[in-house]
Amino acid sequence: MDYSGLTDQDVVERARQGREPAFRELIRRYERPVFSLIYRLVRDRERAEDLAQDTFIKVLNALDRYDPSYKFSSWIFKIAHNTALDDLRRKHPDTLSIHGSPHATTDDQIEATSLTPVSGEETPEEFTSSREIGSHIERAIATLRVEYRTAILLCHVEGRPYEEVARIMDVPLGTVKTYIHRARNELKKQLGHLRC
């Protein structure tokens, strides 16, 4: 059966009925956004993989407790956010590693740990240019406080409205607005030299 045309709620309902393809459909829909968010919070590919895996295991094993009156995306991002925060509290954040793990010492290791962008159809020139700007922004985002980083990523990268960001982060709406305002200003200040 093709699940791609169904809403998240319908896919969850089928997963609750014990249909494995529905579980896989939920993973397919959210593995990239969840991994991207977690990676940009913890800044280490291996840890991000483990934490994304933990997130999905928690979510898929607790589908019975999911309340369909809330958006599934809010629920999964909330669990991803909490999982990443718990990890950050336990360990010191590592340095940015968009071009491979900072611990990689050989070309093979760098290749194996580098990230795979999956969006965008660009010419080689556009790709080089956007990758350059992208890495500046990635570095600038990495310097933000984790609350600002989460808010800005959810709002601008995932395109979630302020109300949903507030639900995911479990903070009042006004706090989210403040986080986003401060994060934007810090990014703008840091990226000022890239103005075209």
Partner: protein, 215 residues
């Protein structure tokens, strides 16, 4: 009035740039931005930042991610899912539902409470006498059931063998032997709890394995 004096505040330019201003407020900022090159540059900066953020690549986990996740997810059989769904439907989802459920459960509680209150209102029945009666009945009943189970158990060959073995061990081992046995049992309990924790409660990560031990 000079144009400089009319510059919108930074927050308003930011809100205008992200499209969250509406109506008159938006029109007023828009009209100013059209005439003011400084504010226009400011708005362009915001737009550049928003575009750059929106263009950040979506990152993918390593291939085989779904399989690694599914290895730790318990997909229930259809009958289990149906049972859980049926039980789930019995749980109220709204405040009104909870009110009805509590009211329905409250009726037997009110009936029982009224009956007890009526009993207590009789002059010959005091709370203390009822308490003594209830505890006496409970103790007698428990004693009878426990004695019956124990006598049946003790009449088996295995029980006789266990009692004989334990008695002879206690006689021969002495205090040191008892201490060693207690220590050994304590270690076994700790190891068992650790194995249970690792296998049942802790979420396994990529590369981690299940723990087992054999006797």
């Amino acid at each position: 009035m000079r144009l400089d004096a009319l510059h919108p505040k930074d927050e308003r330019l930011e809100a205008y740039s992200d499209g969250s201003l509406a109506g008159e407020e938006r029109a007023s900022v828009e009209s100013h931005v059209r005439q003011c090159s400084r504010c226009r540059v400011e708005v362009e900066d915001w737009h550049s930042l928003f575009s750059a953020l929106a263009a950040l690549p979506v990152l993918a986990p390593a291939p085989g991610f779904a399989n690694r996740v599914m290895a730790h997810v318990s997909v229930r059989a259809a009958w289990q899912a149906r049972t859980a769904g049926w039980l789930g439907r019995c749980v109220p989802r709204t405040t009104g539902g909870w009110v009805v459920a509590v009211a329905l459960l409250g009726i037997p509680a009110i009936v029982a409470g009224t009956f007890i209150a009526w009993l207590l209102s009789r002059s010959y029945l005091t709370g203390y006498r009822l308490w003594v009666f209830a505890t006496d009945q409970f103790a007698t009943g428990t004693n009878e059931v426990a004695s019956s189970i124990l006598s049946r158990l003790m009449s088996t060959d295995i029980a006789v063998w266990v009692v004989t073995s334990v008695t002879s061990f206690l006689e021969s081992a002495g205090l040191r032997g008892m201490s060693a046995l207690a220590g050994g049992l304590a270690c076994l309990i700790v190891v068992s709890i650790w194995v249970l924790y690792r296998n049942l409660f802790r979420t396994p990560n990529r590369g981690s394995t299940y723990v087992s031990f054999t006797f």
